[in-house]
Symmetry: C2
Subunit: 442 residues, 2 copies
C-alpha cells in the first residue's frame, strides 16, 4: 500500500495551496494530492470562461505548480481513521500520516419545478459540465440567471458580452445584497442595466417550464420570461459527505468542524476551504463566508500545524471583489448592514474621488468609498469601494488595516503613496479622507 | 490689519491639504492661504502635462477644494514673530494666531557651463514657466534630460510620447537608483529603451553648448549629444528663505527644523511638506524623502496640533510609485540597498506572478515583487513591485503593513481578497508568496 506523509483531498484553491505550502515549509518527504478531475479549474476564473476567456481550457490550473507532490486522479470514497488509510473508487488504498480535506463545495439546487429540464445548469466546478454549458450557450438567445449574488452577476455580465439577452432574477430587494450595502448594490444594478442586462429583484422563480428543454420561467408575480437556457446560481453548500461518513463533526454553517489550527475532531485530519467551518474575525461566531482567498489562507495555516500547533486562525475578515464591465466593487470586513446585524455601535463615512489625478487623466474612474468604524474603540470594521481596476488591491489595504486593528486615527494617518496614473491625489486619497470625516463624528 | 486664526503659506500639496483639514477638524473661524501663483499646479501631475495631458491647464488644482479658506495671491516676504504678522510683497500685513509654512521646494540647478542658454529648463512648479517649456517642446526634435531619477524618467517618457527623440543622462550606474534596487532599475531602463528613449548612465554632463540657444551637450566621456532642448531634473532643494530670515532653525537635510508635532522652533509656526525636515520611520534619523503624500500627511498632523499636541509624526516610511509606458513601479519603505546602508540585518525574497488570473486574462502583466524583512525580529522593512496599474495600491498595502510593524508571519497570513480581472490568484498572491519564501530563510 502506498503511504504518504501528507495526503490532500481536493483540487480547488485550498488543495493545491496546501500542496505548495507543505513542500515549502514543513519537513515532509512525500505529499499526495487526490482529486477527481483530470484537469482542475481555477475556481474564481469560472465566470470568465463564458465571455472574456471564451473557453474552459483557458481556465485550467497549471499542475506544474504542485511541484513534487504526487497527483492521483481518483475519488476518495472512505477514510479509515484507525489505520489512517483512504479508499478510492478506483480501488486504491492510500495511507496517510496527516490528511487535509479540501473537498470544496457544490452549487445549491433549489426545489424549483422544472429544474431537471434540458439547458438548466448550475455553475459546477467541473470541466466537462462547464464545456456542456459553454456549448449550450452557442445557440442561446435568451438566458435567465437565477440568483443575483456575485457569481450570478459575474456570469450574467460575461454572457452578456456575447450579445445574448440576459435576465438576472434575485429574490432579495437588491443584487449583491448579502455582500454590499444598498448604495453599492444600486451602482452594480445600474451598471448591469447600462450593459443591457435586465435585472429583476424582489422576485422568486416559481417554475421553469418547457417541453424537454427549458422554454421560459415563471416568477412569483406571474410574469413569464422566455429562456432557452437557465443558470441557477443561488449559492453553494460545503461538500462534507466524506468527512461525515468518517464520523467527523459538522458545524453550524454546515462545514466540517475545525479548531483554530484547522484540525477536525481527529488530530490527524485537517479541513480547509469551502468544505470547512470557519468563524468571524469580528464576532468569533460561525461565518458563512466562502472565498478562495480564505481557502488558501486556511491551507497555509493547516500546513504549518501538521505536526505541531504553530499558527492560529484569526477568523475570516472576508475581502472580496467583483467586476461588472469596467467597474469593480471591493468589500472588506463588515458592511454597515453586517455591523448592524452583529450588534456593533458604529459610524460610517463616505467619499467620492477620482481614482487618478488630476481628474483629467485618461482612464479616470469615480471611486466611491465607504468606511465603517466602531464607536468607542474607533476600530475599522469594514469598507466598501466601487471604482476601477485598482479597487481590488485597495480592498486589500482595508483587509490589512482591519487585521492590525487599525483605528480611525490610524487610517487618517495612513502611510501611503500616490501617482497620477495609478491612484487618487494625496489630498483626496479616499481611505484617509473618509477616516478624517469619520473622526468628526466618532 | 487682517488677522486669521490660521495662515498657510504655500499652494503645493501640503498647503491646500492643511486648509482642508483645518476647516474640518479644528474649531477655527478663519483660515487664510497665501500663495504666489494665481493658479496652482498639481505637483505630481507636472510630468504628465508634456504627453498624456497635453496642456498645463489640465493640471490645475481646483481652488474650490479650499472651501471657505480665504485665498490671497501674494508673496510673503517676512515674518514678524513678535507681533505674529506677515508682510507681503504686495504691501499687505496679515496677522496670524498660528502659521503653517508649506513653501515647498525648487529644482536644484547644477553649475554646468551653458545652463543659462535658451531652451535649458528645469521642472519648476510654476504655470508660466511650464507653459514656456511646453511651447519650446512644440518645435523640439531632440531633447536631453539631465537626471534619471523619477522626475527625469517620467518627463522623458512623457515627452517621448510626442515622438520626440529623448536621451536621459544619469550620473549613477542606473536610473532610479536612489529609489529602487538594481533589478527594478534594470526593468525601468529596459522599458524606457523599448519605448525609444536612449538611456546613458554612469555619465556626467560636463557642458551645455550652443549659440544663444542650446545645440548639444557634452558628456564626461567626450561624447556630444545633439539637443534643441535640455531639461535638468537632478532633484530639489527645500525653499526655506522665509523661515531662515525669521530666524527659524534648519535641519541636516536642509529643511525647516520641526518636532514630532510639526512645530518649528517657534510654537506658533509649523512647517510641512518639502520645505520641512523629516525623519525616517525606520532609523529616526533625518530623511531626504520628499513626496506629496508625505507632505499631505504632515499637513494632517500639523492641523490637529495647532492648539494642543494631539498627533505625533511617526516619521516617513516613503511610498512612491512611477509609471513608464504601461509598466508601474512602486516602492514602500527600505529597499535592500537602503536597509544595508541603514545597518539592518535582513533577508529578501523575490517572486514573479501574473497580476490577474488565470494568466490568460486580457491585460495581464508579470508582477515582480521583492520584500525585505529584518532578521531576528522578522519585521517588514520594505518592498518593491513592478507590474501593471494595481501596483500603486499594492505599494500602499506594504505601507500599511510596515506601519503596523507587521512581521514575515503577519504577511504570510495576510487577509486579502482576489479577483481574476483585478489581482493575482490567491495561490500566487505575491505579497503572501514572497513572505512564505522569506519564512524559510529567516
Amino acid at each position: 500500500m502506498e503511504r504518504s506523509d501528507l495526503v490532500i483531498v481536493g483540487g480547488g484553491a485550498a488543495g493545491p495551496q496546501a500542496a505548495i505550502t507543505a513542500q515549502r515549509l514543513a519537513s515532509i518527504e512525500k505529499v499526495t494530492v487526490i482529486r477527481r478531475e483530470p484537469k482542475a479549474l481555477i475556481p474564481c476564473g469560472i465566470p470568465y470562461i463564458f465571455g472574456t476567456l471564451g473557453s474552459v481550457e483557458k481556465n485550467i490550473f497549471p499542475d506544474a505548480l504542485l511541484g513534487n507532490a504526487e497527483l492521483v486522479i481518483d475519488e476518495v470514497t472512505s477514510i479509515d481513521r484507525e489505520t489512517q488509510t483512504l479508499i478510492t473508487s478506483g480501488g486504491k488504498s492510500i495511507g496517510y500520516r496527516k490528511l487535509i480535506l479540501a473537498t470544496g463545495s457544490q452549487p445549491a439546487m433549489p426545489p424549483i419545478p422544472g429544474r431537471e429540464l434540458d439547458n438548466v445548469f448550475t455553475v459546477r466546478k467541473d470541466m466537462d459540465y462547464l464545456q456542456k454549458l459553454q456549448s449550450a450557450l452557442e445557440g442561446a438567445k435568451e438566458v435567465v440567471i437565477v440568483g443575483g449574488g456575485f457569481i450570478g452577476v459575474e456570469v450574467g455580465d460575461e454572457i452578456r458580452k456575447r450579445g445574448i439577452d440576459v435576465t438576472i432574477v434575485e429574490m432579495l430587494p437588491r443584487c449583491l445584497m448579502l455582500n454590499c450595502d444598498e448604495e453599492f448594490c444600486i451602482r452594480a444594478e445600474k451598471k448591469l442595466t447600462e450593459r443591457g442586462v435586465r435585472v429583476i429583484t424582489d422576485s422568486r422563480v416559481t417554475s421553469i417550464a418547457g417541453d424537454g428543454k427549458v422554454d421560459h420561467i415563471e416568477l412569483s408575480s406571474g410574469e413569464r420570461i422566455k429562456a432557452d437556457l437557465v443558470i441557477i446560481a443561488i449559492g453553494v453548500a460545503p461538500s462534507t459527505e466524506l468527512a461525515k461518513s468518517a464520523g467527523l463533526g459538522i458545524g453550524e454553517q454546515r462545514g466540517i468542524r475545525v479548531d483554530q489550527f484547522m484540525r477536525t475532531d481527529d488530530p490527524h485530519i485537517f479541513a480547509i476551504g469551502d468544505c470547512a467551518e470557519r468563524f468571524s474575525f469580528f464576532t468569533g461566531k460561525p461565518s458563512a463566508l466562502r472565498l478562495a482567498s480564505i481557502a488558501t489562507s486556511e491551507a497555509r495555516i493547516a500546513c504549518v500545524n501538521l505536526f505541531e500547533q504553530r499558527r492560529k486562525s484569526e477568523g475570516a475578515i472576508g475581502v472580496f471583489s467583483t467586476v461588472i464591465g469596467d467597474m469593480a466593487i471591493s468589500v472588506a470586513g463588515l458592511t454597515e448592514g453586517a455591523a448592524k446585524d452583529a450588534g456593533f455601535e458604529f459610524v460610517t463615512s463616505e467619499v467620492m474621488a477620482p481614482d487618478r489625478h488630476p481628474g483629467s487623466m485618461p482612464g479616470v474612474t469615480q471611486l466611491q468609498t465607504k468606511l465603517v468604524f466602531e464607536r468607542g474603540t474607533g476600530k475599522l470594521l469594514g469598507g466598501e469601494l466601487c471604482g476601477g481596476i485598482s479597487t481590488g488591491e485597495m480592498g486589500n489595504i482595508l483587509g490589512s488595516l482591519i487585521r492590525s486593528r487599525a483605528t480611525v486615527e490610524d487610517v487618517a494617518t495612513l502611510h501611503f503613496g500616490t501617482h497620477p496614473a495609478l491612484t487618487s491625489s494625496p489630498i483626496t486619497y479616499p481611505l484617509v479622507d473618509a477616516a478624517e470625516q469619520a473622526l468628526t463624528k466618532i
